[in-house]
Symmetry: C2
Subunit: 335 residues, 2 copies
């Protein structure tokens, strides 16, 4: 897998500041997500998906939750909880990940066990903790019975059988692929505005790159390759966490309690393997890690340095890296 | 789809009694099940699958259940309950179907939502009602730690990573494909022994054929096409049930409460669609139907006549059909 950015010629052409040299696998946010051949986006699909996303009725007649309850778009695409709660107060499996820029991920869930947004959405709709529908057919029937939804489905999926569980998933996935956060200070900087980020953030960016963070956190989402020539949807980019077992953080934050992909696949070689998570907007998506046990970004950086790199950063270094991570927060406005 | 039996030349060659003419889509039980290309059976796999099937430890350290608890091979492959109970007394989704001759089905579950025995087995192993493992990885770890299992896996799956969730599913599926019930009176009859079934059973066979039961209940398992040229594994054979809604049985036995495939797929055209169930050994697999609400075979025949064919059979006709169904019970001995 090549880590050379396809955007390098573009960024060079934009009179790149010298400080960006050497960051060839840092990438600005593209204007759009690559669409799957079997579910290309359309205005009608995105509009329907948005309606479904915010509607608690999707998840049951008496549902107290919509998709937006946990993946709250106005607060970074997360709900700020350690672990979200389901329809009847049950805990969900892991901490809710953000949906902003999710279309640049090749697999879904912390452990990457789902290979497309469509598949992951159907999985959620069938999850008895998340959905209060008796079954997925009851959900479809209710949408079918609602005149406004029937029309919206027919517009989004012309032809017969427009209202179906698959089409609910397709519309939601199209909407989610439209959730982009452009114009972060980092993007402005990497596109040529030298003053878009502070001196501290620039030092943090160098440290992030040189100390090894960027070995895994590279690419559009600082989460490995986005769907494209190097890696298709469904091909996950996984790393070991904790990479160095045995630090004080294991017990303090229960880092070794969850076996990651192994819990999904039963493959012994996938113990403690995780999908590399998105760092864009990380400053506004606390708490951190799959179990949501770390509350601040400072502490998350210290934990990562220790468990992944076997390093202890100084207070000043932590501050610089956090300043860099703060620069990854973009403009969040649902389409 | 052709309903002409590939066994016709064979049965003809065996000096077929005249009474069998006209039953060209009734088929004797083949000697073996067609094996999937990616998981051909072996003695080692079947032996490992058998060990796993009867071992409660597969489903959790303190599991009270093995596969055999619900799919009890010594009692027709079922537990005789309306709906089986899970690890902690929870009800399972529907009545447990038999595993005898299951390898001749193209899809699994009452609604056919699983496309292979391997897929269905993994689904069961991950089901929190059925499995008491914290996660599927915990199950693999325990098998890995048990010397006898590790050796059995290495024998069944030579090469590295022999112990895995996928291989648990492969071994169980291979074992299940070996569960055949040969030498039923029906098989002896159709192969040429005129006295293998009673006169009443012979009348029942004619009535079963002529009144329309055999329109859906044909083929090896009297459940539609087995995997073969006409239909591959994963291509389900589905029918509407109840076909005639509105009979007294709908309320009496809750027949309209479960929407069948629609509940799994959300496809409105699949409301009340079901995989045609196996009739081999039906006399020893009470109670009947997906919800296990009908206790006797007599009553099941009356319900089917009314809901599927819009008919009422006389007592004598019911008796004859039941005599025929009784002749479908074969010899049950796990390999």
């Amino acid at each position: 897998m090549s880590r050379i950015s396809p955007f390098l010629p573009l960024t060079l052409g934009l009179c790149l500041p010298l400080s960006v040299w050497g960051f060839e696998h840092f990438q600005p946010l593209p204007k759009a997500v690559q669409q799957p051949a079997d579910n290309p986006a359309s205005t009608e699909k995105i509009s329907l998906g948005k309606k479904l996303f915010f509607d608690p009725a999707l998840l049951g007649t008496n549902s107290t939750l919509s998709c937006n309850s946990c993946h709250k778009l106005s607060t970074g695409g997360v709900d700020g909880k350690t672990v979200s709660r389901g329809q009847h107060g049950q805990y969900t499996y892991r901490s809710t990940p953000t949906l902003w820029n999710i279309g640049f991920q090749t697999v879904l869930y912390w452990d990457g066990r789902s290979r497309s947004l469509e598949e992951q959405t159907l999985d959620h709709l069938r999850d008895p903790v998340i959905s209060d529908n008796a079954h997925i057919g009851a959900m479809v029937q209710r949408l079918m019975d609602a005149e406004d939804y029937r029309q919206a489905f027919e517009a989004a999926f012309p032809g017969e059988d427009a209202v179906s569980a698959d089409n609910v998933a397709r519309a939601l996935a199209s909407f989610e692929r439209s959730l982009l956060t452009p114009d972060s200070p980092f993007d402005q900087y990497i596109r040529g505005d030298e003053n878009a980020i502070s001196a501290s953030a620039r030092r943090g960016m160098v440290l992030f790159n040189d100390s090894g963070c960027a070995s895994c956190h590279f690419g559009v989402n600082f989460a490995g390759p986005a769907p494209g020539p190097a890696m298709g949807p469904g091909d996950g980019f996984y790393e070991l966490f904790p990479n160095h077992l045995g630090s004080r953080y294991d017990e303090q934050y229960g880092l070794a309690d969850d076996l990651g992909r192994f819990e999904a696949t039963g493959n012994l070689r996938e113990k403690y393997m995780w999908r590399v998570p998105i760092l864009r907007n990380i400053a506004v998506t606390a708490p951190y890690f799959h179990n949501g046990r770390v509350k601040t970004l400072d502490e998350a950086v210290r934990v990562m340095a220790k468990t992944q790199l076997g390093k202890e950063f100084s207070d000043g270094e932590v501050q610089d890296i956090v300043a860099f991570l703060n620069s990854l927060t973009g403009r969040m406005a649902p389409p």
